[in-house]
Symmetry: C2
């Protein structure tokens, strides 16, 4: 705390304090602090000096009340400790660079109730737009978003009933592609490791895609191991693969809801002396760094996490600036591709 001689805590200086010291009006200080406004060089310098001497920092919350622009966008992701989503957050930050908008990040721990709380907390601060992960929200959360009067971007998914705009891909189709690719290599007895809770919609969709693809191929699709709620730990993958091999010892390939559980499964197999992919093949989802680095390197589905973030932020800023909002593509599909490596 900055104290002044008499021992009381000094109030932080305001714009008027700066103005007085520089011998100008508050309005001129406000202008000097904003790019592209007409303030003479001499005045600007005097103001800069006053700011420096006083240690003044603009109070943006007061400013945004007046200008009706808060200068930030909200993004809500399930977990920050998941590089897929943090890549998306990076994409958003990067795309926001230079727009004068700042990112306010929140994470839900995969809980829709927590998401609802966050949506409300964010909207109370009047973001200029909001980016969400996935398309399932609580009814109240959805209503708040619809009524907020700001652009809403849902990502990482293709919701059946989008609130506004979407930047994502079909998790089901991505998993189908993986199954087909591996079936094309001759695998027939597929197992799936991953939860099915309502909590992880993307996980459920991947699992549904797994079943769909196998049914279409006329292969058995009943080897499904579920585990608890996300976030899915590596250790859970390890346990699940043990479980799977006990129930269906002749499983040829185990597909996992994410690279993290796939990695857990892979390590557990090695501990048990099973050769991957000879004794059992393993594939993941997400193309995390670990998939490219582990031994054997992991087959997985690459998803354009960073691009999702970039494009979501781009669509957001475009929507904000749009004169006629109708011209914008409401749905942007992002790419995914199977990355075949040594584990299959």
């Amino acid at each position: 705390m900055t104290k002044i001689p008499n021992g009381k805590i000094a109030e932080p200086p305001t714009m008027s304090d700066v103005a007085r010291r520089a011998g100008v009006s508050a309005m001129t200080v406000s202008r000097a602090l904003k790019e592209g406004s007409h303030v003479s060089k001499a005045t600007r310098e005097r103001i800069a000096q006053a700011i420096n001497e006083l240690g003044y920092v603009l109070d943006q919350s007061a400013g945004s009340l007046s200008s009706r622009r808060t200068g930030f966008v909200a993004a809500i992701i399930p977990s920050i400790n998941n590089s897929n989503f943090s890549d998306t957050a990076r994409g958003i930050t990067d795309a926001l660079e230079g727009t004068g908008l700042q990112l306010l990040l929140g994470y839900t721990n995969y809980s829709v109730d927590r998401e609802e709380e966050l949506i409300e907390a964010m909207l109370k601060r009047r973001p200029e737009g909001i980016i969400l992960t996935g398309g399932s929200h609580t009814p109240r959360g959805r209503r708040m978003l619809e009524q907020a009067g700001i652009p809403v971007i849902e990502t990482w998914d293709r919701p059946a009933q989008p609130i506004d705009k979407v930047v994502g891909f079909s998790n089901g189709e991505a998993m189908e592609l993986l199954v087909e690719t591996l079936a094309g290599k001759g695998y027939q007895r597929f197992g799936y490791i991953g939860g099915t809770t309502a909590r992880d919609t993307r996980g459920s969709q991947r699992r549904a895609g797994f079943v769909r693809a196998l049914e279409r191929l006329g292969l058995p699709s009943d080897r499904l191991i579920s585990f608890g709620v996300p976030p899915i730990s590596m250790e859970q993958g390890a346990q699940a693969v043990v479980n799977m091999l006990e129930r269906w010892p002749d499983t040829q390939v185990a597909l996992c809801v994410s690279d993290l559980s796939a990695f857990g499964a892979l390590m557990e197999c090695q501990r048990r002396g099973l050769k991957v992919p000879d004794d059992i093949a393993i594939a993941g989802f997400g193309d995390y760094e670990i998939a490219a680095c582990c031994h054997p390197r992991m087959t997985t589905v690459n998803v354009d996490c960073y691009g999702i973030g970039r494009q979501a932020a781009l669509k957001l800023t475009q929507t904000i600036q749009a004169v006629s909002a109708e011209t914008l593509e409401p749905i942007t599909l992002t790419s995914f591709r199977v990355v075949e490596r040594e584990s299959t």
Copy 2:
């Protein structure tokens, strides 16, 4: 956007709109929205209904201008895609639960310049406190923090000249402990893998601790492999261990600046048919999930990441509430311990 019949975009409702509809004054609405204030049940219900009908959401930025409480604290971490730091963020969030304070998270990508930008951006929004990672900042960043008049908590480190309060540990001592533990098991020829850039102060301190411990033990301390700037990838760890084995083929144990590079090194050794720990032992730092799950399981230094966050947030709220700030411990040391596993 919500549109009204005549085609114009409806302004979002304000508290006065709610008040009018409920037949009360704005002040009563404000009270009804705040816990523990006296509003009759009947009025409260009418207000709730009006809020519901209008889809009103409180404008907190206006409220905080008036009440001079913004209701959030800022935290700045190097990377969100690093479970050590995101655990700290979780600890902060959890400890803030129920205090009415919300976390505003920013990440620097290990750049002090970016940190300075973030500090300024955060302070413009008038947080009630700020939590930083590490103790090195730009001079301007430091000055802004000192003058902000809010509690500042530096974490993950023991700065020589703290700005205000500290919750952390000595990265150097932690690494020394690891060296001593392994020396106690008979290892003599130690190598170190990790950068030394000014950019990653914690990494540099770990390296300094490595050298210090070996010198004290009378063992050679010159086997140091550096690589680029953080964030350190697993792949860099893989390259570094190859480099190390070329230069000093008889290295017995490689200590890495983080579990992530240690993991990369471990996998690379396996690819080259080297047995860990028989041909070469490897240890990491941070006790990431991967260290407990990989094969062989990794020896590492466990740091109380989550606790750092919890205690930092705790100290922050205590400082905010403190009548006499002097009674609070300025420095809280958090624990670390060596976790011996199969890789050494």
